[in-house]
Amino acid sequence: MDPLLVLRGITKRYGGVQALAGVDLDVRAGEVHGLVGENGAGKSTLLKILSGAVVPDAGEVRLAGAFLPTGSPRACEACGVSTIYQELSLVPSLTATQNIFLGHESSTPGRGAARRNAMRERASSLLAELLGETREGSMIDPDRPVRELSVPERQMVEIARALSRESRLILMDEPSATLTEQETARLHATVHGLRARGVSILYISHRLEEVLTLADRVTVLRDGRRVETIPAAEATLDRLIRGMVGRSIREHYPKESAPLGDVLIEIEPPDGLSVRVRAGEVVGLAGLVGSGRTELVRAIFGADRRPGLRVRWCGHVVQARSPAEAIALGIGMVPEDRQGQGLVLGLGVDVNIALPSLDRESGGWLSPARLRDLARPLIRDLQIRLADPSQPVRSLSGGNQQKVVLAKWLARRVRLLILDEPTRGIDVGAKQEMYRLMNQLTHEGKGILLISSDLPEVLAMSDRLYVMRHHRVIAELPEGDRSPETVMAYATGAVGATR
């Protein structure tokens, strides 16, 4: 039998980043096809191409032999491809029925009230069928606004929406990420039911065990390429993980270890392990997206509250209730979202660099000359490329913008720097400069807490490495056992927590 979906040579570049490089993929009719890979392996890009949100640079997509139109979500849906995103795309204030038929109301015959009743009945029977397949849970009232439904119920509505369009292929992006065990079991039953109807499912998940039990075949992506497609029956957790992270540690991590000083900070979350950072040390936090790394460091920095978190700074218990208090202690943070949280894009480079230091450096008065004097040495040391120190940060490249965020904290002379995904979205050259700066900072006796979803990076650049899962620090990896496989095994839950 010919496969339902055929991808050949799908290629996509974003600027300097090769998101997908010649990916081939077949999905058979009535198959659950698992898709796994590290963050940045190209899963989401692939999904976006199939759902019509992104146009590939090269390659072809065929559904049941016919070319799938690219670049038009509506056209893709009309051809029978539906997508269920992790962030559900329902309208909260509309009812289940209205959501199921949103945008294709006219596919139901009748007019006015007659059509509304017909839609309601069809929605009702679709939802009942879905629930009948799971033999569990109570019926969803088709007249209830979606905002009153639970997450799994909303997923059910999304699936009913797909069925109402007679979709032949349903793309699911991390559908179980926010579900409990029980809810996940229900979702799996629904997926099996869909398969029994002959619907194909492309199932993306970070939970590898889940993929192994649910899928018929699994495809592993790494760095935008397909590593292999294997029947789930032949796959093991080990084989998937090796496929996902298999690259050799690249040569380009110029890590130098610096002499260690006193303990700067000890972070003691309410449960799980505590984390210590010493002066001159880079401590890595690895884990999957959503494992709670960003939440933890934001709480340390006083940006969010986290009850039960205890922080010792230089031996004293402290609690930063605002970023201002954390900064006063000597902590700086380069946030994950550089443009949204790290920079005021419309203001000048010099103003951005000086912002956290103004209370200390300038008294109350401020002159353009003084701002420039504050920023100039940092612009020089960090080699920020610009025409004029007062030009808006918006006009700099991504790598240079990231250097400005770093420069803010160097100007303030903080002792501990939290770097949350510091090299995301910047090119290889800028990454190298970032690594060298990290070496330089530790040699100056600063401590660094590094979050990175780039496994080789966090492995190579950290002196010590912790792994987080489900909002807990579950392991500190000993020096001798720091392989990507071990990290992924902890991060995906293949290995339990250590104490």
Binding site: G346, L347, L355, D359
Partner: protein, 327 residues
């Protein structure tokens, strides 16, 4: 280059253009006495608009300024009856600052959107002024307070000098103090500002108190001009102030804007009023024309911005529009 000039000096060009046309249409327009007259009429709006500019740069808005003008004038004259003009004037300024504190507190701590907050206080403060005065005007035709509105220093009336002082002061605040920089940072990206250690609540309260106090000052000047305080005065003044700010190129989204722009904006409105009066245009048509000018100005600004965005693609080299003025 031309586009950049237009963007920076567009409203000034507009002012000169309107001025030129009016001086051709009326020979009374370009006389010293008329110019001083215009400046005096503009002074109250300019004082209010200076505070409004600072609020709008943080991404907020203050609709309560008109009511605050009335409350400040009335409380000043009421207090002055018992304790003398100086204490009265302090009370007027204080009343304005208190309204600002209420606005700032609700916005910063109560997380009530500025539009809603100040829409509510606009009504509350108006009601307060009416309660205080029982709805009656308070007339006081003698006393040192009249100096604020009726005296002159040489040929220049005091309100004009006050306006100049306020404009210089707020410009200095925005351009040359760290709190001014924080105002731009909060309006440009509140989360980034917070993560840089800036107290959002502190800045928000500061700007609303400043706007309230400046409205209070405007209320005193107005009362002194009229030798009386009226609880019903100042209705719609917030709209003139916002119009001046917008005409001056300040973005309602926050993060950019200058006091000089606002000054030019206030003068555009003043000069239009004056010109229409000189030419005996019906006040009904004046309203229509004023609104049309505002829409036109913003439309032109959008076009210029779009032109700049496309023109910038080729050369990354710098346009320093919007940042703190570095004059």
């Amino acid at each position: 280059m031309l586009i950049r000039l237009l963007r920076s000096y567009g409203s000034l060009l507009g002012l000169l253009l309107i001025g030129t046309v009016l001086s051709l249409l009326s020979d009374r327009f370009l006389t010293t006495s008329n110019i001083i007259n215009i400046a005096r009429q503009v002074s109250i709006n300019a004082i209010v608009a200076a505070g409004m500019t600072v609020v709008i740069i943080t991404g907020g808005i203050d609709l309560s300024v008109g009511s605050t003008i009335a409350l400040a004038g009335c409380s000043a004259l009421l207090v002055a009856r018992g304790t003398g003009d100086l204490v009265g004037m302090a009370a007027g300024l204080g009343a304005g600052a208190l309204v600002g504190l209420l606005n700032g507190g609700l916005v910063a701590w109560g997380r009530v959107p500025p539009f809603i907050t100040t829409l509510a206080t606009m009504t509350i403060v108006r009601g307060g002024a009416l309660v205080l005065t029982n709805g009656e005007p308070i007339v006081q035709s003698t006393g040192p307070y009249l100096w604020l509105g009726q005296a002159s220093f040489g040929p220049i009336p005091i309100p004009i000098l006050l306006m100049a002082a306020v404009l210089f002061g707020t410009h200095w605040f925005l351009a040359r103090t760290r709190w001014g920089t924080y105002v731009y940072a909060v309006g440009g990206n509140a989360e980034a500002a917070r993560l840089a250690g800036i107290s959002l609540a502190g800045i928000q309260i500061l700007v609303y108190v400043l706007a309230g106090a400046l409205s209070g000052l405007a209320g005193l000047v107005l009362a002194a001009r009229l030798s009386s305080a009226q609880p019903n005065t100042g209705v719609g003044f917030e709209l003139d102030a916002i119009a001046a700010v917008v005409l001056g190129g300040t973005s309602l989204m926050g993060g950019e804007g200058t006091i000089w722009g606002t000054m030019v904006g206030a003068f555009i409105i003043g000069i239009l009023n004056n010109g229409f009066n000189l030419m005996n245009v019906s006040p009904f048509y004046q309203l229509i024309a004023k609104g049309a000018v505002i829409v036109l100005a913003v439309l032109v600004d959008q076009l210029v911005k779009a032109g700049m965005a496309s023109g910038r693609a080729g050369s990354p080299a710098t346009t320093t529009v919007g940042g703190p003025p570095t004059a």
